[in-house]
């Protein structure tokens, strides 16, 4: 049920975000001087912000950015996490112990503070945002992948690959990696909402996506600054953001309940 609900919510949001812009003639950057902070009406479906820009199209385009950042940065963190976890789990021994100890230490650090510093200092380029968020969120993935790899390593087909004299790289790529993919995909869906949340958190602090581009976090920030004048400018992006995050979380939870054997007891 969770799974279905999550999928439906995401389908709805995505249809709206990617197709919605074709149904409006308004432009996200045009300033309507005579329509500043107007309530939702027939022309401005979600109203306008205090600068007189149409909120409907801005919310949709902001959503496109938020979701794209979510997907790309998730890929970065999945890549790092899988590589790290697979190496630690496969090599084992002291290397594994040190690598995992490092993960423990990083876990306990307020890593996001370093990300904030990085973004403050080196400008707010989009690629840096991806890398920064990606580098922040790989820890869980590394742990999960390591556990799985250690389990796979003891399976007969890996043993036979070793006996056949295949190189370690080949074993990792041909035998271990494909078998990891299921678990990785399930947990990757749980990383996406976290990424979107962090992106919006950074955008809220003014460190994320920069004008003229916008994202849900940036819109919430603008809306919160003028909420007494135009509460709808806060309300609608906030609703979209939460709705999408709920959708992703339901999807991830649902997938995990269904596919992760360690969760099937309940």
């Amino acid at each position: 049920m969770k799974l279905k609900l999550g999928i439906w919510m995401l389908v709805m949001v995505n249809l709206l975000i990617w197709l919605g812009p074709f149904f409006t003639v308004l432009d996200p950057e045009t300033i309507h001087w005579d329509h500043m902070a107007v309530k939702p009406d027939q022309t401005f479906w979600l109203g306008t912000d205090v600068m007189g820009r149409d909120l409907f199209i801005r919310t949709l385009l902001g959503g496109q950015v938020s979701i794209l950042v979510g997907l790309v940065a998730s890929m970065v963190s999945v890549f790092i996490g899988v590589l790290y976890g697979m190496l630690a789990g496969f090599v084992g021994g002291r290397t594994d112990a040190i690598m995992m100890r490092l993960v423990d230490v990083l876990y306990a650090l307020p890593f996001l503070f370093l990300v904030i510093l990085l973004l403050v200092f080196f400008g707010q380029q989009l690629w840096l945002l991806f890398v920064a968020i990606g580098c922040y969120l790989w820890l869980d993935m590394a742990r999960i992948v390591r556990g799985q790899t250690m389990m796979l390593k003891q399976q007969a087909f890996v043993e036979s690959a070793v006996a056949l004299g295949q190189s370690q790289v080949v074993i990792l790529r041909r035998h271990v990696l494909p078998n990891l993919m299921g678990v990785v995909l399930v947990y990757a869906t749980l990383i996406i909402p976290q990424v979107i949340m962090i992106e919006s958190f950074l955008s809220f602090l003014g460190l994320g996506v920069q004008e003229p581009m916008t994202s849900w976090g940036a819109l919430v920030n603008e809306g919160a600054g003028n909420m007494e004048l135009a509460p709808w400018a806060l309300l609608f992006p906030a609703l979209f953001l939460s709705f999408t995050l709920v959708g992703f979380n339901l999807l991830g939870d649902g997938l995990r309940d269904r596919w992760d054997p360690s969760c099937q007891k309940q």
Partner: protein, 307 residues
């Protein structure tokens, strides 16, 4: 036990050093300096200022003298708040942040565990479904979204609570910040508690307790609750990290004079010493808190200690 504490504290020294060093050189590698935004200074004045703050020395020397000052407990003068040392600023801001974090954590534990227990007791019936739906929404709604909405509803329109500020730390000023800060953690704790209780309640020792004819509440609270709290306790470490980051936003939104505010402002103004000081304090608190969590874990589950 004592050896664990000592070992962990010793481990903390290189960790803190690493964070400090990383931050120090990151700060210095960044373009711009602390006095860029001021009006044009004459070269002589600029030189005086630079020598006062040791900015005229080579970077390695500044680093070493910072560390040696630090070992004597001196975090240096703030670059931006002209008459304050970083020690003074932190001693002003830290209590506010700590109070906020403490109450938020307390609320998250009380409400979260309570909700989780209710949900587990009513598993798969409507109270459970409602509680878990609320929990998913709670986890999915960033607190910087909830905070303005609550301010709009409860402060601006209803006028029940102050819009922001610290006042003299009266409880009215605490309610909204604490509530918004703790909401995602209430939700997370509730979910963890629910699944942990469900798992524990299917164990053989619970069956034994039931078979002895103990009452349901006795089984749950005397036998089930303690092992079910283990995952909650191990979640406390990451939760504390989250609370720290969350309070940066919360302090900004509500205009509270805590440490999180110094961090963002300090970074924007290139207030090197202030940012370093805040990073150090946060790192230190994280280490101590994680140590505390480990000790608590051992207290609840003696098997860990004997391993």
């Amino acid at each position: 036990m004592i050896s664990l504490v000592v070992r962990r504290l010793l481990w903390g020294i290189p960790v803190l050093w690493l964070i400090l060093t990383l931050t120090f050189f990151l700060l210095r590698a960044a373009p711009g300096g602390p006095f860029d935004q001021e009006r044009q200074l004459s070269p002589q004045v600029e030189q005086l200022i630079n020598s006062k703050y040791r900015l005229d020395q080579p970077l390695s020397e500044q680093y070493l003298s910072y560390l040696s000052d630090l070992l004597q407990g001196d975090l240096g003068p703030s670059f931006q708040y002209a008459d304050f040392t970083v020690n003074e600023l932190i001693s002003l801001g830290l209590p506010v942040s700590l109070e906020l974090g403490f109450y938020a954590l307390l609320l998250a534990l009380l409400l979260g565990v309570g909700l989780g227990l209710v949900a587990a007791a009513q598993a798969n019936r409507w109270p459970d479904l409602v509680a878990m739906l609320v929990a998913v929404i709670g986890i999915s709604t960033p607190n910087f979204v909830i905070a303005p909405l609550l301010i709009l509803g409860l402060s601006v329109h209803a006028g029940w609570l102050p819009v922001g500020g610290w006042g003299d730390g009266q409880w009215q000023h605490l309610i909204l910040p604490v509530l918004t800060l703790s909401l995602p953690f209430i939700a997370a704790v509730a979910r963890i508690t629910r699944s942990a209780v469900l798992e524990v309640m299917s164990q053989p020792f619970i069956q034994t307790a039931r078979a002895k004819g103990l009452s349901a509440s006795h089984v749950l609270f005397k036998h089930g609750l303690r092992p079910a709290m283990l995952p909650v306790v191990s979640y406390l470490g990451p939760a504390a990290v989250g609370l720290m980051t969350g309070s940066v936003v919360i302090e900004q939104i509500f205009g509270l004079p805590g440490m999180g505010r110094y961090f963002v402002q300090g970074a924007l103004n290139r207030d090197y010493t202030l940012v370093l000081g805040v990073v150090l304090v946060i790192g230190l608190m994280m280490l101590l808190f994680n140590l505390l969590v480990d000790l608590l874990y051992r207290l609840i589950d003696p098997r860990v200690a004997s391993r």
